[in-house]
Amino acid sequence: MALLRVAGALTEAPDVAGERQRRRGGGRRLSPLPTAVLLLGAVYCLLPVAWVLVASTKSTAQLFNTFTFAPDGSLWSNIASLSSYAGGVFWHWLLNTAIYAIGGALLSTVVSALAGYALAKYEFRGRSALFNLLLAGVLVPPVVLAVPQYLLLAKVGLTDTYWSVLLPSVLSPYGIYLARIYALAAVPDEVIESARVDGCREGRLFAQIAVPMMVPGLVTVFLFQFVAVWNNFLLPYIMLSDENKFPITVGLYTLLNRGSTAPSLYSLVVTGSMLSILPLIIAFLVLQRYWRADIASGAVKQ
């Protein structure tokens, strides 16, 4: 229930709120103090983002010597020097992050959908034991697992490959938990039964009947895992040593690390940070809209 509420929060809040606001929208006077508090909160949250947008327009010398909230014209030359750094490795990092996050989240959604559907819609020996085991998996700190995962993958020669980052991202006990809830709520038993009576095989039943009904929930599973992989630092940091396979988080971290001896790299880190959160912010705004559309279709409600 706990985790469900969290998931529901993302999908439900915006739409319900919009509705209430519309309903409420009279021309009544605003109270200044609460509005000011909200404004302060928004400023606090936007401040670092605004700063990096401005700071990425400054050359290294200006970054260290001028008031950093005054913009300047070096954005293009910063992007150019970032692009030429170590043979354009920065763009590799962005591409890798996209591969890890999209690939990992997609595979994870497929695995979660399969397992969640089976746990929700079939009676089979060991079902509740399996479900409890998976739930316990939610509580295992992923960071504690990273070290033994590295040692084991090293034994089979998989460290420093794309798979060493992708593979651990595919399993998401939380995703399976969510998928089970969505399957329970969205796929009626009667539909399954009548499909079986019509001679539909189980594999087709899942792919062509259950999955379309679960789609809104599976999008949430995908989003959660996408954010988790995009955020991941420790796992790729441990697994990878080849710069060309780094995701953006590890890449910028190593750049900062080198910058402590060569401050000229700082402006590259600043520009790189700006370029890497820009797509995230755009995706975030687009997804906000999607989350609304999601609830309008009446799914995921519980």
Partner: protein, 320 residues
């Protein structure tokens, strides 16, 4: 020969055996569906956990100069790794530090999240849509990038704050000093986590039927009174849950201090428990000691989350 067909699982393969209407579901299909998850779970969770436990009771024994082949051997160590880990003062101080960190971060973050959620839910408050989006925005920024951004804002040579503060006649404190670094790191956690928790609490508020406080309003209760007396008690389950999950997450802090470390000497490689584990495993090449501390932390985490969830179940959900 044909007898074998009795083995064919109902409905999973090609032949659908005649079944009663509304008959039992096929037997093998669910196993096929959960198989990928089970295999991955075994490979990525069970085996690594087992391997960690195994390693924690082993050690590397050096014979001779330890240079030739076969001079380094893995032997049974008993509880030696646990004893040395749990008596290591740097580990103990990192434990203390992470507890303090959690104690600073969680109340501030959840306090702000609750305040903003109540304001988003209140009437006659402006900028609600703008604030909701802005405060939730940091959720989309990876913690490493967030730490980089704040790290630069903390650095006096790059930060805009010294210029602003000096106009007000103030000077910027050293945000990386021994006593301030913990707050500086906690601020990044607050920045990144407030929006998500705000949305969770806000959703709980929205789920409350408005009739509950309509009567109070008619009786002349102020918005603050309604918030304190009606709304907060009603959403206490959501508050407890966000609290439990926040505590568990903050105790695993790694990305923020690790990212800030290159900017300051205050943050040592063993500053937080998980940094200590990383340091042991990859800088000291002592996977055995790292494994023992991993087991200790995983066990502690498990007991804590189980205990907290039990407690919250008992007092918040059943006691109503």
């Amino acid at each position: 020969m044909r007898q074998k067909s009795s083995f064919s699982p109902g409905g999973f393969g090609g032949v659908v055996p005649p079944r009663k209407r509304g008959g039992t579901a096929p037997r093998l299909a669910p196993y096929a569906f959960v198989a990928p998850a089970v295999v991955l779970f075994a490979l990525l969770l069970l085996i690594p956990i087992g391997y960690t436990v195994f390693l924690s009771f082993e050690k590397s024994q050096v014979s001779g100069l330890g240079l030739g082949p076969g001079e380094r051997k893995q032997v049974f160590a008993g509880l030696a790794n646990y004893v040395s880990g749990l008596t290591d003062p740097t580990f103990l101080s990192s434990l203390l530090r992470v507890l303090l960190y959690s104690l600073i971060l969680v109340p501030v973050m959840l306090g702000l999240a609750l305040l903003f959620a109540l304001l988003l839910d209140a009437e006659r408050v402006g900028l609600q849509r703008f604030a909701r989006l802005s405060i939730f925005l940091p959720y989309a920024v990876p913690t490493v990038i967030a730490s980089l951004l704040w790290g630069f804002l903390y650095l006096p040579t790059v930060s805009p704050f010294p210029a602003i503060l000096s106009r007000l006649g103030l000077s910027m404190p050293n945000l990386f000093a021994t006593h301030t670094a913990l707050f500086s790191v906690a601020n990044i956690g607050v920045w990144g986590g407030t929006g998500f928790n705000m949305i969770v609490i806000y959703t709980a508020l929205r789920a409350m039927p408005a009739e509950l406080y309509e009567a109070a309003r008619i009786d002349g209760a102020s918005q603050v009174q309604i918030a304190l007396r009606i709304k907060i008690p009603m959403i206490s389950p959501a508050l407890v849950l966000t609290g439990v999950f926040s505590i568990i997450a903050t105790l695993q802090v790694f990305n923020e201090p690790q990212t800030l470390a290159p900017l300051t000497n205050t943050i040592s490689p063993d500053w937080m428990p998980l940094m200590k584990i990383y340091d042991l495993a990859f800088n000291d090449n002592n996977a055995y000691a790292a494994a023992a501390l991993s087991v200790v932390i995983a066990a502690g985490m498990f007991v804590l989350s189980y205990g907290l969830l039990r407690l919250s179940n008992k007092y918040v959900f059943e006691g109503r």
